[in-house]
């Protein structure tokens, strides 16, 4: 019996594939890759299709239940459904990986709603109910809610005027955007990683169980599985889930069987699973030798700071500014029980990046001596450099392709296991090999924001000014180190005497990775609550205290806005009673201004169109759009006259997406390229003006006569920018003058009986200079609030205390926020203060999330009088705290 897919008969699944799901058949069997698989557990909704008209998660639908049914996928929706237009127009998307699933449910909901209610806007709760089976990790919920409401109101029954704000919106709402996991080159094999089942063990031997360990004789002549070792010289595994080897075979099922057949002989070693165990006298050492310590992984972005080791403790890395004075004052205040001394301890949990597209790479050595890699990375140029170096290839024999990336958030910027394994396996197999992590692997061994324990001490003097500060933080990054939490506190609240110390305590857990503002959210959670506590001790409004203490001029401009903000001025005062209590909290955010001086943009004239190229990549943050907008604006040409092609390392060097640096690096490079193009076009056509918009006809004429013209613009270092030794980033990172600021005002409603915190409204003030693409920047800042709310309330990796195995290795147990969990968010941009920077604007991806969790915690305190010391603020903790 056949099935019907998108209105046409389609082949039924092969009955001989046990366990296959409808999603597998739709993607692999029918090639309809608009349907995405993310969680595999029916939680996130990325795989939603219409089954006989009803939204259905195809990852939990057995493939053999399909025959006789009618399926509509995103491809079958066309591209002109009002919901698709609305998602594009309201920018209800970022990376686009969850978008097809959202669109399918939203389309069914909108059609049903209008049939029942007419063209009426549903309220936000109704939309949240309808979309309760969908999760967006980028947090594009503001745009999604607006899009669904507008589509229901009949605002998108015809194609809207003008382009959508996001250049690639159409490809994303139609499912046409190709992600790495959608790539299946002809003859591609699948690879599977063999991982440690012990928290700490010496590997005596690994038996490939008949899989081939050397390169065969020719492409495709041998279909036996291939095997590669991934451990290298150090034959010790230090966490459950550590990669040991990898195998590949022509099909996923055969690769899994080959992986299960591999026999690993472990000699178990004593493991340390908690911070306390690791610090105990005579605790087993993870890294007993100097060489092992040197080889230990770092979760720092760039080069880790230098620090000594003592057993399993690394550190401190200390920053001092009149530290002796600070300590003397703090100790004296402690001895005299000075009420102006606030000394508190805070902890945060491990937060998993949870990009909906897992780490994935398709490696292909099939061109002789050359390597092509499709990879889900946030650093195309850097990865091409790193691959060339690791496999000893000339740079021009390496090609990295990353057209679309389903989220990264910091975890996709290094040569991760998927890349190494697929590359090694393809070399042996002599065919392309794809390695994509399963959700369980992704949530176990793809990095996380390490947990922290942070002690803050603040002392105010008689006038209520800050007299001394001390911050000590202990990073809990498993086998890795790289804490910057305390160090980042040194950049806050002026130049009062202070000392900050960062430590790491290593344990037998997976390694962390940089995650959006590394170190800063836990720093803010501790410091901003301590400042809040101080305000209460001094009997002062928390805003007024910050206006006195915080010397950052850009943030001061934001405080001025807050002072006139009804959300702040009309907040409830005094003790609150009853079951539901409202509160409003405030927190400041800080981040560095970082730039990639190697960034370049190439413009060529091809078929009368300007093609914009660079080996940068768009992980949902919008650089494709920024490049289009900058070049179009600079030339005064319509965006439709441009074509942007990024994500290919054969183009000129592009910035990696990390350190909030892509826009402020690529934007000026694009502007310079556009200016060069204009000068070159003037040589072809005198009607092109020296400045100002180029008239449409003049541009057309000039382009017609300039076929093949090529110019390159760059982002050289500005006067106030210096190369950084601390942040390496492939020699492509400089730190600029001026700190980026943000202030979040958060309103919550606390259900004091059932222990739930509901963020209701948020004002996000961002001071990052000139904004390049307004709607996209807002979307990113709205998503930063979503991720911060997740960090504050829901997200927490949990591990088995006996083995260290990650228990939250699925998206049911690892909980990210849905539309119904996030506040209605208003973003305000303060656009002054970075006039010294080329382009006038800096990055906002990280600063926009730093203080969110702190603002939630301060709001919970305001509502209840109970101060959350530990993240996440779970119901059990709240119930305990309010008892």
């Amino acid at each position: 019996m056949d099935l019907e897919v998108n209105g046409s008969p389609a082949p039924a699944p092969d009955p001989d594939t046990p366990g296959a799901t409808a999603a597998d058949h739709i993607r692999d069997g029918l090639g309809l890759t608009g349907t995405k698989i993310a969680c595999g557990d029916g939680v996130c909704g990325a795989c939603t299709v219409l089954l006989d008209g009803s939204p259905t998660v195809s990852c939990l639908l057995p493939a053999d239940a399909l025959p006789g049914r009618s399926v509509t996928t995103v491809e079958g929706l066309g591209g002109a459904h009002p919901v698709q237009r609305a998602f594009a127009a309201h920018d209800g998307l970022q990376c686009g990986y969850c978008t097809p699933g959202f669109v399918m449910t939203a389309a069914a909901f909108t059609d049903a709603w209008r049939a029942e209610h007419g063209d009426v806007r549903p309220d936000r709760d109704t939309i949240a109910d309808a979309l309760a089976g969908h999760l967006c990790r980028c947090g594009a919920y503001e745009g999604i809610a607006a899009a669904v409401a507008a589509a229901c109101a009949g605002e998108f029954d015809t194609e809207p005027e003008g382009e959508p704000p996001r250049a690639d919106a159409h490809d994303k709402v139609t499912g046409r955007a190709m992600f790495t996991v959608d790539r299946a080159p002809e003859g591609c094999w699948e690879g599977v990683i063999v991982r440690s089942t012990h928290p700490h063990a010496r590997i005596r031997s690994v038996d490939p169980a008949g899989a081939r360990v050397d390169a065969g004789t020719g492409a495709g002549t041998d279909s036996a599985p291939v095997f590669v070792d991934l451990l290298g010289e150090n034959r010790v595994v230090r966490y459950v889930g550590q990669p040991i080897a990898a195998v590949a075979a022509p099909t996923r099922a055969r690769a899994r069987a080959a992986a299960e057949a591999v026999r690993v002989d472990y000699e178990p070693l004593p493991a340390v699973l908690t911070q306390e165990e690791a610090r105990a006298p005579n605790a087993p050492e993870l890294y007993p030798s100097r060489n092992e310590r040197r080889a230990a992984p770092s979760y720092a972005e760039g080069t880790a700071t230098a620090a000594p080791w003592r057993g399993n403790v690394r550190g401190p890395f200390t920053l001092r500014w009149r530290a002796g004075t600070a300590l003397k004052r703090l100790r004296a205040a402690g001895r005299s029980a000075d009420p102006r001394l606030v000394a508190e301890e805070y902890t945060t949990a491990a937060q998993l990046h949870t990009a909906l597209e897992p780490h994935a790479c398709v490696a292909d050595w099939s061109r002789e001596g050359a390597l092509t890699l499709y990879m889900s990375t946030q650093a195309v140029s850097d990865m091409a450099d790193a691959v060339a170096e690791r496999w000893d290839l000339p740079r021009d024999r390496v090609r990295v392709v990353t057209e679309y990336v389903g989220g990264g958030f910091g975890a996709k910027a290094t040569l991760t296991t998927d890349i190494v394994a697929s590359t090694e396996l393809s070399r042996l197999a002599r065919v392309p090999v794809s390695v994509a992590l399963t959700r369980a692997e992704e949530l176990t061994d793809a990095g996380y924001r390490p947990g922290t324990r942070t002690r803050v001490a603040l002392l105010a003097d008689d006038r209520g000014d800050l007299a001394a500060m001390s911050v000590d933080s202990y990073g809990d990054g498993g086998v890795s180190y790289g804490s910057m939490t305390a160090t980042l506190a040194a950049l806050m609240y002026g130049r009062t005497p202070r000392r900050t110390r960062d430590y790491d305590v290593v344990t037998n857990h997976p390694p962390g990775a940089p995650f959006r503002g590394p170190g800063a959210p836990p720093m803010a959670f501790a410091l901003e609550q301590a400042v809040d506590t101080m305000a209460h001790r001094l009997g002062e409004d928390p805003l007024s205290l910050r206006r006195r203490w915080d010397g950052n001029t850009r943030r001061r401009a934001l405080y001025d806005r807050v002072a006139a903000l009804p959300l702040w001025t009309d907040r409830p005062r005094g003790e609150r009673t009853g079951r539901f209590r409202r509160g409003v909290g405030l927190a400041a955010s800080n981040w560095l201004f970082i730039v990639s001086p190697r960034s370049k943009v190439e413009l060529t004239v091809e078929d009368g169109v300007v093609v914009v190229r660079s080996a940068t990549q768009d992980i949902g943050t919008g650089i494709r759009t920024v490049l289009r907008d900058v070049v179009a604006d600079r030339l005064g040409a319509p965006p439709s006259s441009l074509s942007v092609r990024i994500g290919d390392s054969t183009s000129v060097h592009g910035s990696g997406a990390g350190g909030s640096r892509t826009t402020n690096s690529m934007g000026p490079a694009a502007a310079e390229a556009a200016d060069r193009l204009r000068r070159a076009l003037r040589e072809h056509s005198p009607r092109v003006p020296a400045s100002g918009p180029i008239p449409e006809l003049a541009l057309k004429e000039a382009l017609a006569s300039a076929e093949g013209l090529r110019v390159v613009g760059g982002r050289s270092l500005g006067r106030w920018e210096r190369m950084s030794s601390l942040l390496s980033g492939g020699g492509d990172v400089a730190v600029g003058r001026g700190l980026i600021g943000a202030v979040h005002v958060m309103e919550v409603e606390v259900d004091t009986l059932l222990g739930r915190v509901r963020p209701t409204r948020c004002w996000a003030g961002i001071a990052a200079g000139r904004i390049y693409s307004d709607r996209l920047a807002r979307n990113q800042c709205e998503g930063a609030v979503v991720q911060g709310v997740g960090y504050a309330l829901h997200e927490e990796r949990r591990d088995d205390p006996v083995t260290g195995t990650v228990l939250t290795d699925n998206m049911e147990d690892y909980r990210i926020p849905g539309l119904g969990d996030v506040p209605e968010t208003e973003v305000y941009f303060h656009e002054e203060g970075f006039e010294h920077v080329p382009g006038g604007g800096v990055g906002l991806g990280e600063v926009s999330t730093v203080g969110v969790a702190a603002s939630v915690a301060n709001a919970v305190f305001d509502a209840t009088g109970w101060r959350p010391r530990d993240l996440p603020i779970r119901p059990d903790r709240l119930i305990e705290g309010l008892r």
Partner: protein, 330 residues
């Protein structure tokens, strides 16, 4: 590995009898269980072709018989069912996600496997997968039971069961050779048996759920305590149904309160139920109710990490009952 799709119950029972094959309804949980190694792959008998297991029949006394393949969504959205059995409809409308409610069935919901993260992680063996211990009891059981009935500490997963237990509903079960047996929904579960989540064999099929005649003017509420607002398994959940005297116009004549998330089986709370007799809709329930709530602590035997559920159980029941009564606390 085959899947068959018989169109009549007799064939399905024959194909299930002693063959090692598994019955499948919506397949949402079975698919996940196979993917996570909870269940080894086995032949499947897909029941969805058996039309007689689908839909809602109404008897002369006004009572309903709900076919086992009726989707959870249909139960939540059917107007007549919602009017007759509001506690069932509200409960069904609150579980999982909209997509899953449309695929999942009443029968499948009753017989799904529990959500313990050790059970669903192939790295661990436990009583349910042939092992001899409960790694959650010694390990991380933050979401575990607070009424400890036996070796396994995973709370009962079926939200639909709460409502059905509150109605004293009966399941019809067909077994080998077509024998039909009726048993109370509560009888599907044995909290002291750590090896399985329900007592039926794979050769037995739940064909329907029978409800008693509806009570006019029944007041009902369902409430779950969770961290997020939607689509999360409950820490504690409650279904409350209040039957009113005077043909549905008077005070509460009898009450049924069932809770989940707290024990290996759905629990009725008779002491809370009896305390509600005489309660007046729209008004705060009396001191007897408060005392019964406080008494719930005595039922609890928390694990090291589930002590918070003692208070959460009390408050969830309080909030659920007050919602059913239409009493809004400040």
């Amino acid at each position: 590995m085959t899947t068959t799709r018989p169109t009549d119950l007799g064939s399905a029972l024959t194909e299930l009898a002693g063959t090692g094959a598994r019955p499948r309804a919506g397949g949402t949980d079975l698919t996940a269980c196979v993917a996570h190694g909870v269940l080894a792959p086995a032949p499947v008998v897909d029941l969805t072709g058996i039309e007689t297991l689908r839909g809602i029949d109404w008897r002369d006394d006004g009572s309903a018989r709900v076919g086992a393949l009726t989707s959870v969504h249909e139960v939540s959205a059917d107007p007549r069912l919602g009017a007759a059995y509001p506690a069932l409809a509200r409960t069904a409308g609150a579980l999982a996600t909209p997509q899953i409610r449309r695929t999942a069935t009443v029968g499948g919901n009753l017989l799904q496997r529990n959500r313990c993260w050790y059970l669903r992680n192939p790295a661990f063996d436990c009583f349910q997968t042939g092992g001899g211990s409960c790694p959650a009891r010694e390990g991380d059981h933050l979401h575990g039971v607070v009424v400890d009935q036996g070796p396994c500490v995973a709370p009962h997963p079926s939200t639909v069961a709460l409502a059905l237990v509150a109605y004293d509903a009966v399941v019809e079960v067909s077994g080998d050779g077509g024998a039909v047996a009726e048993r109370p929904v509560a009888g599907l579960y044995d909290g002291t048996d750590p090896s399985r989540d329900h007592v039926l064999d794979p050769s037995e099929v739940v064909t329907a759920v029978s409800l008693p005649a509806p009570a006019p003017g029944e007041l009902a509420a369902y409430l779950r305590a969770t961290g997020r607002s939607r689509s999360e398994w409950p820490l504690v959940e409650v279904t409350a149904r209040l039957v009113r005297a005077e043909g549905g116009a008077g005070p509460v004549a009898s009450a049924a309160v069932a809770v989940g998330g707290v024990a290996r089986t759905p629990l009725r709370l008779p002491e809370v139920e009896s305390s509600l007799v005489g309660a007046v809709p729209g008004a705060e329930p009396g001191a007897g109710f408060a005392a019964a709530l406080d008494g719930l602590a005595a039922r609890c035997s928390p694990l090291p990490a589930t002590g918070y559920k003692v208070a959460l159980l009390r408050e969830t029941v309080r909030a659920g009952v007050e919602r059913a009564l239409g009493f809004a606390r400040a």
